[in-house]
């Protein structure tokens, strides 16, 4: 069974199924969604279990020809339906299943127009998974852009008072970001040749089964000597081909050898910058982050969970898979700048979080700050840094849903998230206080929880890096203190002291069963991955070793 295709299309078919279900069975929509997400989690856990960390490269590969355009003298353009997972995408896929399941349970609070809601939710899920497993840049981009559409409607139709503004801002910001990616994508496929299919088209071999590494090498030599008729060159979007300099047409703009310049800067560096901006919007990185607090504040709780838990991760994933792997030269050239922006995100996000009155805005800015650590770890270009960046993505994917759920708890009871309107919740809401404490302490980087591992190793990686000045790393370290500051201060104001709130006592009841079902497993997972980070590192290590080869 093509397992990755199943992972993509199971939710999408589920979405169609929901549309077909009659309005009379309204109550079952949520359960259909939860069951599908559960099944999804089982499948992706199975992949995690069978994945062999020793093997180099992609596993569970699926590859089918999709679009082949013959454009005369210009050559042939081949777009493939190509999927696979490696040590980078596997944790993200698993995380998607987990967060979407939690989000589905959290969605029980949605009371209007459920059919459309769950259909869009499942559609979103399919596209996110597709993004993580696509190995063809065209396919990746398709999922990457299409994902905006369900998200736009989910925020815009079920969001808070300023939802119209927030959803449009989200859509336009991220679409603008993806246009930057599209610019490079066009340049890339016009520059890169698929050596295997070109071997077929020039008749070096007669059927796909005969393609060996020798044939590929032979074609690459022919490409380098420009001995192939342009009409027979097969242009490709396949990411594994894009990150090999030998597949570039020598005189093409993005070739590693030609050294073309655009407005005085090497074309490859410009391309890297564009990709970087595109993914930085998604991550988000200061100063391109302004859509995030708005989107979070207006989105309903489950959508905030999904947005922080997975959608931001696609930005980080894109850095690794596309910007860094394809343009390592750019990554090296801009490393200090990227680290600087990472530190800026850490500090700026943290200071903003300190000043917020709205709990959801606070968490949103804490996300910006935490994503700064991903940038810092990535910019280090050391194995520790890269491992830590992936780990930080993963850990934040577990912790940020928890944080948003915690805020969702009070919001569901009073429709008010203002920090100043609550005090001393600890008495009367013990379970809530306990789980909030875990979420806060884990997020501020208490050893023993997953948050610590990511941040600590990011800083360590950055210290060991030859590209990053030490003062930047020290400054980044201050982010940890600021993080402790805003989390503890918030905790103190809301939970400690004499019990008081704007609202009646009868409203503020402790967690119900459904809320515990969401929060407890996340807390346990954070603890589990904090104590045994090796479970994740053993998967990512092999990938990071391959990744680092681009920078030597």
């Amino acid at each position: 069974m093509p397992i990755l295709t199943t992972l993509i299309f199971l939710p999408i078919l589920g979405s169609l199924l929901l549309l077909a279900l009659p309005q009379a069975v309204k109550a079952t929509y949520r359960w259909v969604t939860v069951v599908l997400c559960l099944l999804h989690l089982v499948l992706s856990s199975w992949i995690w279990h069978t994945f062999d960390p020793q093997l180099v490269g992609y596993q569970f590969i699926e590859n089918t020809d999709w679009i082949t355009m013959a454009l005369g003298q210009f050559g042939i353009v081949s777009i493939d339906y190509s999927l696979g997972v490696d040590g980078l995408s596997l944790p993200m896929v698993w995380l998607t299943s987990l967060v979407m399941l939690v989000g589905a349970v959290s969605s029980f609070e949605i009371k209007t127009n459920e059919k459309a809601y769950y259909a869009l939710y499942l559609l979103l899920m399919g596209t996110v998974v597709g993004c993580f497993v696509a190995l063809d840049l065209f396919l990746f981009f398709l999922f990457f852009e299409f994902m905006l559409l369900p998200m736009y409607f989910l925020i815009g139709l079920w969001g808070g008072p300023r939802r119209e503004y927030a959803s449009l801002k989200f859509f336009i910001y991220t679409l603008a970001g993806s246009v930057f990616i599209l610019l490079v994508m066009i340049g890339l496929y016009l520059s890169v040749i698929d050596p295997a299919e070109t071997g077929l088209s020039i008749g070096l071999v007669s059927n796909p089964a005969e393609i060996t590494e020798d044939v590929v090498a032979q074609v690459q030599t022919l490409i380098a000597r420009q001995q192939i008729d342009p009409a027979q060159l097969v242009h490709t979007f396949e990411i594994p081909y894009l990150n090999d300099g030998r597949n570039f047409v020598p005189e093409s703009l993005l070739s590693t050898l030609a050294g073309h310049e655009i407005f005085g800067l090497s074309a490859r560096l410009v391309a890297f910058l564009l990709l970087f901006i595109g993914f930085a919007v998604k991550l988000p990185m200061v100063p391109l982050h302004t859509w995030l607090p708005d989107a979070h504040v207006e989105a309903p709780t489950p959508i905030s969970v999904v947005l922080a838990g997975i959608l931001l991760k696609i930005g980080g994933y894109g850095f690794f898979r596309i910007a860094y792997e394809i343009f390592p030269d750019g990554a090296i050239y801009f490393a200090p700048w990227i680290a600087g922006l990472g530190v800026l995100s850490i500090i700026y996000g943290a200071f903003n979080a300190l000043s917020q009155k709205d709990m959801k805005r606070l968490i949103a800015y804490s996300s910006v700050s935490h994503m700064g650590f991903v940038l810092l770890g990535l910019a280090a270009l050391t194995p520790e840094g890269a491992n830590a960046a992936i780990y930080q993505l993963f850990s934040h994917g577990i912790l940020s849903p928890m944080l948003f759920l915690v805020v969702g708890v009070v919001y569901a009871r009073t429709h008010d998230r203002d920090i100043d309107h609550y005090q001393g919740l600890a008495s009367g809401m013990p379970a809530y206080t306990g789980l909030t404490a875990i979420a806060f302490f884990a997020s501020l980087g208490l050893p023993g929880f997953s948050g610590f591992v990511g941040e600590f190793f990011s800083l360590l990686g950055a210290f060991n890096s030859i590209y990053i000045p030490v003062w930047m790393v020290i400054l980044g370290g201050f982010g940890l203190i600021l993080g402790a500051g805003y989390f503890l201060w918030t905790f103190q104001r809301v939970f400690l002291g004499k019990r008081w709130s704007l609202y009646e006592e009868s409203l503020l009841l402790d967690l119900n069963f459904r809320e515990k079902v969401m929060l407890v497993p996340l807390a346990l997972l954070s603890l589990f991955f904090g104590i045994l980070p090796g479970t994740v590192f053993s998967i990512t290590e092999g990938y990071v070793m391959e990744f680092m080869k681009h920078f030597n």
Binding site: M69, A70, Q73, L157, L175, I186, E251
Partner: protein, 486 residues
């Protein structure tokens, strides 16, 4: 003498679709004269059916030519019947069919001449798509223009008369400029046949300022038809004045034919003409998109959208390569589905009661009443933005690919600017294309608005138009491989 007659006779054999149009034109107008109109408000279903039949048979003729015709010049190099001309004839026929179906399913009534004039306009467009002689271009363009003036002002109320008048004024100025430019070109090159190699060669040898100004002037009529900047001013007024099915036809067919002539003209132009076109293209995209941001009327919004879309098609032409032309053809063909589907649905979904102006607020809350149609309209708009899973994305990808390729060959920085800003414009365009879906889904219905009764035919027609938008994305190769074989 005899030879000439032979040639004309042979040419006539390849002229069957046009002859059919003339016959249909005369027949329809006589029928209208001899049968008295039963009702005051004009001809309804039966004349729509007849006109539909005329265009359907026309489609068969074009298909037959496609199967049998080998490329060749007709009537002493006046016309050129090649694969491209046939492709555009097919596009024009298709858009005429859709427009007449649109008018039919929305139960429009027209007095009988309307249908004949529409047929006359198609005739002009067919000639234009084959014209390779400057005089022929002028002549067929005038046939198209005069028909369009009448169709715009056809309803005869104050608003549409005003729109029609503006159209006439702007149109005649631009055709005057065009004629002046053509006379200059003729004076310079001593030939009217612009596919003649001597035409390009001589233009290259004269002072660039002279040749450039003569060419720009000569192109003005065509730029007017595709509503490129600075000849775009008429567009919003005409779109608002004319009835929606007519606007839908205007936004595709005359543009397509004018683009083909531009394409033919560019194939002989000296390369140093590229930057001028790149600038026109960029300015057209930008002005179209940014003006559309402020619109509150759906038809005016579509007018600016169509200006911007013309700019995108021009991107393909700017490349001056066969790849560029192919991708521009692809763009035009797919633009047809996106824009005509939008017009059908705008017409059907608005609660404004079929007046000239269709305020965006008249779509408020309709999405709840008519979810399927609202989703279809959203898909059509997303295709115009160029988001994936719609063919609009493939089209943008392809035209900008051809531009990148042109940049690699010429290293002209202007191309890079067009490349980057053109694509970034799509993010801007999202803001206004979302306005109507936004009203449909997010806004509450107006209190005084009547419930929208969606004719079943309109839903079916729009479904038929939206289907290719998705299908041609999934199998982009079907259309583009066919086009590159032309």
């Amino acid at each position: 003498m005899l030879e000439q007659l032979d040639h004309i006779m042979a040419s006539l054999a390849s002229f069957t679709p046009e002859v059919w149009l003339i016959v249909a034109f005369v027949a329809l107008i006589s029928w209208d004269l001899i049968t008295p109109e039963v009702q005051e408000e004009g001809r309804g279903g039966f004349f729509h059916f007849l006109t539909f039949l005329v265009f359907a048979v026309l489609g068969l003729f074009v298909y037959h030519q496609w199967q049998t015709q080998s490329p060749g010049a007709l009537f002493h190099q006046m016309l050129m019947l090649d694969g491209k001309a046939l492709f555009f004839k097919a596009l024009i026929t298709l858009s005429a069919l859709i427009a007449i179906l649109h008018s039919w399913v929305m139960k429009r009534r027209w007095s009988g001449e309307f249908f004949s004039i529409l047929i006359g306009m198609v005739f002009g467009l067919f000639l234009l798509s084959m014209a390779t002689n400057l005089l022929m271009v002028y002549l067929s363009l005038e046939v198209v223009s005069i028909s369009s003036y009448i169709l715009t002002a056809f309803r005869g109320d104050r608003k549409s008369s005003e729109g029609g008048m503006k159209y006439v004024l702007f149109g005649s100025v631009s055709s005057g400029l065009m004629l002046y430019g053509m006379s200059l070109l003729y004076g310079l090159t001593t030939t009217l046949d612009f596919t003649n190699p001597a035409f390009g060669r001589i233009l290259l040898s004269v002072d660039p300022l002279v040749s450039a100004s003569a060419l720009i002037l000569a192109m003005s009529g065509l730029l007017f038809k595709i509503s490129a900047v600075p000849f775009q001013i008429w567009n919003p007024d005409v779109y608002e004045a004319a009835d929606t099915p007519v606007v839908s036809f205007f936004s595709v067919a005359p543009k397509a034919a004018a683009f083909l002539v531009l394409m033919r003209l560019f194939s002989v132009l000296p390369l140093n003409f590229q930057p001028v076109l790149a600038v026109i293209s960029l300015v057209t995209i930008t002005i179209g998109n940014f003006s559309a941001l402020w619109q509150t009327d759906a038809k005016r919004l579509m007018a600016y959208s169509s200006i911007a879309q013309s700019g995108f098609v021009m991107v393909g032409l700017v490349a001056f390569s066969s790849l560029g032309n192919q991708t521009a053809l692809f763009y035009l063909a797919t633009y047809l589905f996106g824009t005509m589907a939008s017009f059908v649905l705008i017409d059907a979904l608005s609660s404004s009661g079929r007046k000239n102006s269709v305020p965006i607020s008249s779509f408020n809350g309709i999405g709840k009443q008519q979810p399927l149609a609202a989703v279809l309209l959203t898909i059509a708009f997303l295709s115009l933005v160029g988001l994936p899973l719609t063919v609009g994305f493939s089209a943008k990808l392809l035209v900008f690919s051809s531009l990148w390729e042109a940049y690699q060959q010429t290293s002209l920085n202007l191309f890079l600017i067009l490349f980057a800003f053109g694509l970034l414009n799509t993010a801007v365009s999202l803001a206004f294309y979302l306005k109507i879906p936004f009203a449909l889904f997010f806004r509450k219905a107006n209190d005084e608005a009547l419930p929208v009764s969606l004719p079943r035919g309109a839903l079916f027609l729009s479904l038929l138009l939206v289907l290719p938008i998705i299908l041609l994305f999934i199998k982009t190769d079907w259309l583009i491989n066919w086009i590159s074989g032309i």
